[in-house]
Amino acid sequence: MGKKTIILGVIGADCHAVGNKILDFIFSSAGFDVINIGVLSTQEDFINAAIETDAQAILVSSLYGHGEIDCRGFREKCQETGLDNIILYVGGNLVVGKHEWTDVEKKFLQMGFNRVYPPGCNANDAVKDLEHDLLIRGKSKWRVI
């Protein structure tokens, strides 16, 4: 399975730091090698960190509502830079306002994220999901949903 390095950060002009610190703690405790680039990070920041550390997954947070604008083209940019195999998760209060979760999820899945998490999610489930996805990926080539 190789080493389990993941990139964690909050995208865009978003400064919400609390969830990020907690995700760091939980994924680290679960044995992941967490590279936390913190808040106010650009797509490039995430990608550079992933390339540098040869990470297997990028976990993007967006809490402040601009997630849709900020995340557009992320998957494409990953592919351009050779990260075409990387796992992309995203979570938080992804859009402005209160919307049907299924619509939001669909939107981000279509943008190329492999999994999408609502704000009330249990971070431990995400740990399990990631372990599962990494396992599968070890066997067959990861396929963007």
Binding site: A13, A17, V96, G97
Partner: protein
């Protein structure tokens, strides 16, 4: 370090101003003299300080929501609704996050996309892009004073535009709008930039226009011990006063423990007055209480419970105004209806509690004393580190971890302090980092925490902090372990 807590000369101010007004094209429309004339013609009831003063005299607590959308017409419609249907007393304009980072090109994109999408794609009103005339349209469409609420480390252009538009209050400060809101803006820069904003207000005051300034009290909104937020509120108050600001509202974010909250507001008010006096400033002081600023539950009825408890506390604490949350808080920026609901629940509660004050018991007295003493420990050290200069002292104190805001994203913040709730839900220090609290006060803290540890039958630990962060959103104040058995402590 070219930073000093000293009133800027006009020369210095106007020199930098040239540059500021060129940061974006709308800066060109700002004309201070014309703005003064405009503001002098505004009716009294649209002046923020005026309204706050009346409330203070009447012993009432005013209600202010948060609200802002991308487009002017929609923003006007939103604020009118909050005024008419919501019965708000004071209006906000929440600024979007790109503006807060001075990314005006991205704002432009957000405005365009919002027009296309037919709903706001920005989380606030991009005030700089819209410019002075549009902001005046907003003010003129309303019957209440308007304030800008944001989170902008460099708010110089923003401040120029809103005041020129007749908005008579500005939230923020060099510490409170940097450390919780930014990652790599130095304090030297943000404090200087906010000195500019304060000096601007000072100049307006000199020209006969009253403008209110409000440091952002709650900081990260997440388990901030009252002595940390009070220290920073007082520091920002002093920095503002030095630049000629006369009307100041100091803020505090609800902890949820009523004794601590009432004590914190009283301590803040009394201690700020002392410090202003000590340094010779004549300030018209008011207070603002923020309803719970941490994570909310998704269930709207539960959110109403939190909103109302915050309102009751605000009234009992005697705050001049309260900032309102909404039943949509956990999920997303509220619709105007949800926003009005939050205001109405708040108003009803305030009106029920109006005239009642928390009767001061020995317990609250002690809590006031403790908060003041802790705050003094920190302020003394800041002063000492700055050789008497609070601006310098602040920068150095943050560098040394003497000032330290829990969970803040800034790399200029030590991040060593860990807060945790005691058994009654009051927020205490678990780890002090380098915050210079005296031995005696540490013992008091510890004693309160030990009671919780004992009650929950687990050692004081980081898991408690995590549990506390999630607690309110999961329906309780204190994050007790799942198998927590009700003790007999409360038996009466």
């Amino acid at each position: 370090m070219n930073l000093q807590n000293k009133k800027w000369s006009e020369e210095e101010f106007y020199q930098i101003r040239e540059e500021v007004l060129h940061q974006w094209e709308t800066g060109q429309d700002v004309n201070m003299q014309e703005a003064v004339d405009y503001m002098k013609k505004l009716p009294e009831h649209k002046n923020f300080s005026h309204k706050l003063n009346k409330a203070k005299q009447g012993g009432i607590t005013l209600v202010q929501p948060r609200a802002g959308v991308a487009l002017v017409e929609e923003h006007i419609e939103l604020l009118r609704y909050l005024q008419d249907e919501g019965e708000a007393d004071l209006l906000p304009t929440t600024i979007d996050s790109y503006t807060r980072q001075n990314r005006y090109h991205e704002c432009e994109r957000g405005i365009e996309e919002s027009k296309k999408a037919k709903h706001s794609m920005l989380n606030g009103f991009p005030v700089v892009n819209h410019g002075v005339q549009n902001c005046r349209r907003v003010l003129e469409a309303l019957d209440l004073p308007v304030q800008a609420r944001h989170g902008t480390p460099d708010a110089r252009l923003l401040s120029e535009i809103i005041h020129a538009a007749g908005w008579t209050s500005n939230e923020g400060g060099g510490i409170s709008y940097n450390i919780p809101y930014a990652k790599s803006v130095s304090l030297e820069k943000s404090i200087r930039d906010w000195q500019y904003c304060d000096r601007l207000v000072g100049l307006y005051e000199e020209m006969g226009v009253e403008i209110n300034r409000e440091p952002f009290g709650p900081l990260t909104g997440t388990l901030v011990p009252p002595s940390i937020s009070n220290t920073i509120a007082i520091l920002e108050g002093l920095l503002a006063a030095e630049q000629g600001v006369k009307n100041i509202t100091l803020g505090y974010g609800q902890s949820g423990n009523i004794s601590q909250d009432v004590a914190a507001v009283r301590a803040l008010k009394e201690q700020a007055v002392e410090y202003f006096k000590m340094d010779g400033y004549q300030i018209n002081l008011s207070t603002v209480f923020h309803q719970w600023m941490g994570g909310f539950p998704e269930d709207e009825s539960k959110a109403f419970g939190i909103i109302s408890w915050g309102s009751a506390t605000a009234a009992l604490a005697g705050a001049t105004k309260v900032i309102v949350k909404t039943p949509h808080e956990a999920l997303g920026i509220p619709t105007k209806e949800a926003n009005a609901q939050g205001i109405k629940a708040t108003k009803q509660t305030l009106n029920l509690v109006y005239g009642q004050r928390m009767t001061i018991s020995r317990e609250i007295d002690l809590e006031i004393e403790v908060i003041k003493a802790e705050t003094k420990c920190i302020l003394d050290k800041v002063c000492e580190m700055g050789n008497g200069d609070y601006a310098l002292g602040t920068v150095r104190a943050f560098a040394a971890g003497v000032l330290d805001i829990p969970f803040a994203p800034s790399k200029y913040n030590a991040g060593k302090v860990l807060p945790v709730r005691d058994y009654q839900g009051a927020v205490r220090y678990l780890e002090y980092g380098s915050v210079p609290i005296s031995r005696e006060l540490m013992d008091y803290n510890r004693q309160k925490l030990d009671l919780r540890a004992k009650e929950e039958n687990r050692p004081l630990c980081f898991q408690m902090v995590i549990d506390d962060i999630y607690a309110v959103s999961r329906g309780a104040l204190v994050g007790r372990p799942a198998d927590y058995a009700m003790s007999e402590r409360h038996m009466q």
